[in-house]
Symmetry: C2
Subunit: 270 residues, 2 copies
């Protein structure tokens, strides 16, 4: 775990404050370089790419970013447009908006834009994503799954994500949509994978030493399945309830962090 | 833990099957003595005590119970009616329906009927409760709390329950109403207390050796806070998000049980 964390990520649980203190978005702006920030916005996941792009661009420019460009990529052809990759190559921060995570990966996956984002990330720039934009960061992502239902196999549809953070599975709008059991199911499938559930208006800021710090108004839930003793996931039928014992759970608000390599929570000094 | 488990309890998460196989209600009928069962139904929690009483009475009589009497107790006066306590003294099983748990405790608490139920329980008879009837079994019960919200202090209102099972806190309609975070808050307040979240159409059948077995179609969630390392509950403001680390979690379907004394899950042979 963590060998592959080569850059900086901000994983946002959706619905982050855009009208008040904008704590999370301002932190992204700061991490992208503040007044030197060249921000690229990717709205591909959304049904309303232009409206959403405008909102974020205006915010980041208001904060004082040097540039904030919205890349409208709605098909595979534009995902290979070399003009767009130039913008990304010069960016100090990339921000993925919410929407449909499968739209994001199916349009961007394996494209020139995808490659440019990886380059940008590997050079140490910050990559942020909110809601669907958060889910795509892991190597395998949850595409669909019931909320507020008992844990069972059938609550889950998984797909390949962008793999910026490996060996984790990320879920968002976490407490607000009652998603603990679908994250438990994902972890039970392979306890090697760490479950990260992020509430609305909350983010995990992961740095290149594979530690994450929580910011925002709510909590990040960590589901660590490494010590699972019983699990019936391989033998149960699709709609059978799951059995999972000895899950380790951490609920972390701002002021706390998590060491992804050692799987240990910590308190932040600041 | 467990010294005080003197009888047999069936703690049902609400909405148990009453039309199909009736697995949970039939198990109660069996534990109450089958064809020798003298069942007493207490509908005090409900707004519709007569309709609900009729449904359960008809079911238990159809199963073959010797008697099934509904005690209509809607004020403190009837809770001290000695005719009613006679019924309870002869009962082999008591069943609490759902409704409002505070109505149940405020009307029955400290009454002659309350005392008779305790006697019945201490003699080894089965006491069952569904939904609100499940919540009242613990010594401290959750009366009100937000669902699908991040864990915070203010999501919880607690009150004294009937105390048939001590050192636990029970929540019901658990996965279906997204109640994990309010149960985590309750456990964080005093990690000595074991959190038991019971899904709909699911029950934990606790016997006098302080072990519980899961029956029904969904799962029982056990929240064990004994190993909590960080918790900010004593210092946080009402609406601050909670921090809780190192919670141990077990998701147990039918075929699994839990040793309440040793805090260990087990698999059942049957």
């Amino acid at each position: 775990m963590g060998e592959k964390v080569s850059g900086n990520l901000m994983i946002i649980g959706g619905n982050e404050d855009k009208e008040g203190e904008c704590l999370i978005l301002k932190e992204f702006f700061k991490l992208a370089g503040g007044r030197e920030a060249r921000i690229v916005l990717i709205t591909t996941a959304s049904e309303f790419p232009r409206e959403l792009g405008d909102i974020y661009r205006t915010l980041f420019l208001d904060f004082g970013a040097r540039t904030a460009a919205v890349l409208y990529i709605d098909d595979r052809e534009s995902a290979n447009d070399l003009h767009l990759t130039e913008d990304i190559d010069q960016a100090t921060g990339v921000f993925f908006t919410g929407g449909d995570q499968l739209r994001l990966t199916s349009i961007l996956g394996g494209s020139q834009v995808d490659a440019a984002i990886r380059r940008c990330y590997q050079q140490g720039n910050i990559i942020a994503g909110t809601s669907a934009g958060a889910s795509v960061m892991s190597d395998t992502m949850i595409v669909e799954g019931d909320s507020n239902e008992s844990a069972q196999k059938s609550t889950l549809a998984m797909a390949h994500g962008m793999g910026l953070l490996e060996e984790v599975v990320i879920d968002q709008h976490f407490a607000q949509r009652g998603r603990i059991n679908r994250l438990l199911s994902a972890v039970a499938q392979n306890p090697f994978v760490l479950g990260i559930g992020i509430d609305e208006d909350t983010a995990l800021v992961v740095s290149d030493n594979a530690t994450g710090k929580v910011i925002g108004s709510k909590t990040v839930t960590i589901v660590d399945g490494k010590h699972i003793i019983h699990s019936n996931i391989s033998e149960s039928n699709l709609h059978d309830p799951l059995a999972i014992t000895n899950i380790r759970l951490h609920i972390l608000p701002s002021g706390f962090g998590f060491d992804l390599k050692r799987r240990m929570p910590f308190t932040c000094n600041s």
